[in-house]
Amino acid sequence: MNRSDLMNALEIKDLTKEYKGFKLDNLSLTLPTGCIMGLIGENGAGKSTTINSILGLKKYDHGTIKVLGQDMNAELKQDIGVVLDEVGIPQALNIKNVRSVMKNIYSNWDDKAFGDYVKKFSLPDNKKFSDFSKGMKMKLAIAIALSHNAKLLILDEPTSGLDPLVRDEIIDILNDFTRDEGHSILISSHIVSDLEKLCDYIAFLHKGKLMLCEEKDVLLERYRFINATEEQLSELDPDAIKGKKTGKFSTEAIVDQELIPANFRTAPITIEDLFVFMAKEEN
């Protein structure tokens, strides 16, 4: 199968998983091949549940998931680069050991690429993994994920704990990864500004539900800030208002530009603004 002919890297339909006190409710998401999708949500929103379900690490109650056109299986894992919060590397290993272990796990292991990343990230050759700082652990996980010719990267908070310079470098590396049109990325992060730079699509998860999934640039074009009185806001189409913050002197609202009169003065939003305003409105 020529994988780069695949329309979608990920197809999730009606994914449902219920725990005590939480329900991931009929989540449907599609990640087209060659694209980058960012998953944004508060802690406990369902991001990790979704990712674990995709990777087959957790059973789900209902729904279908197709990864690179297939049901998850052991062979498929060769084509998927994964970075999760729990970096599953035995504590006693060092970089040299990791290399030999990975060579045996991944049939397409690219040792030169791994060596280049180790150097780029300044990872120490002889230190035991247990002595790595959190930042170093994340960098190692990312280096591994990028060194076995994966077609799809699934990254759960891959830059948490990393300083702005390193994060910028990693965003660049992820950007380069998708220069190949057969490469796709699903990435969840709290650092929304990183996702805003990198992603083609943005999905908002809140309390187990998908609040939206849209092209990033469409979100930034369509939704804008306005400052107005409560009275002026009440005159607008209620569907136009995505969320608001009432202040002492005026109310700040995020609106759908297409549904308000043309003469309103608007200001640009960030994706983070949009999420916070929409989530608060939901509550």
Binding site: G34, C35, N175, D176, T178, R179, E181, K197, C199, D200, Y201, E215, K216, D217, E221, R224, T266, P268
Partner: protein, 124 residues
């Protein structure tokens, strides 16, 4: 080829790209059959979404400004420069009508306007 994106201007990014490439073609800086960067490499080099560059290129193709050769890429289409010149002349005329209106409201004469134009010219 130089393209600049202004994130804060409020103009949609695909629109900015579309307009800048269109201007480069009309001005002749990009010539008939010149290759354009691929949709993907343009997106990645500019750190913007491929969805957006694709939209800009689709629009350029719809307008007949560029054409695509499968597996080869996108190229500048032969332009009917006469028609484009006509379009620009018309725009200049429209601007002139505006200037006349505004000049009248400020009680400026034709000579005053020409002086203003000369000053602008010198400043460039």
């Amino acid at each position: 080829m130089n393209i600049f994106i202004d994130n804060r201007s409020g103009a949609p990014i695909y629109d900015q790209i579309y307009n800048q490439i269109k201007d480069l073609i009309i001005s002749g800086e990009l010539r008939e059959n010149d290759p354009l960067p691929s949709i993907r490499s343009l997106a990645k080099d500019m750190r913007i979404s491929v969805v957006t560059t694709k939209r800009a290129y689709d629009e350029l193709e719809r307008e007949g400004l560029i054409y695509t050769l499968p597996a080869k890429g996108c190229f500048v289409a032969p332009q009917n420069t006469e028609i484009l010149r006509e379009q620009n002349l018309k725009k200049i005329e429209e601007h002139m009508v505006e200037i006349k209106k505004l000049a009248a409201s400020c009680k400026l004469t034709k000579e005053d306007i020409i002086v203003m134009f000369d000053i602008l010219d010198e400043q460039e």
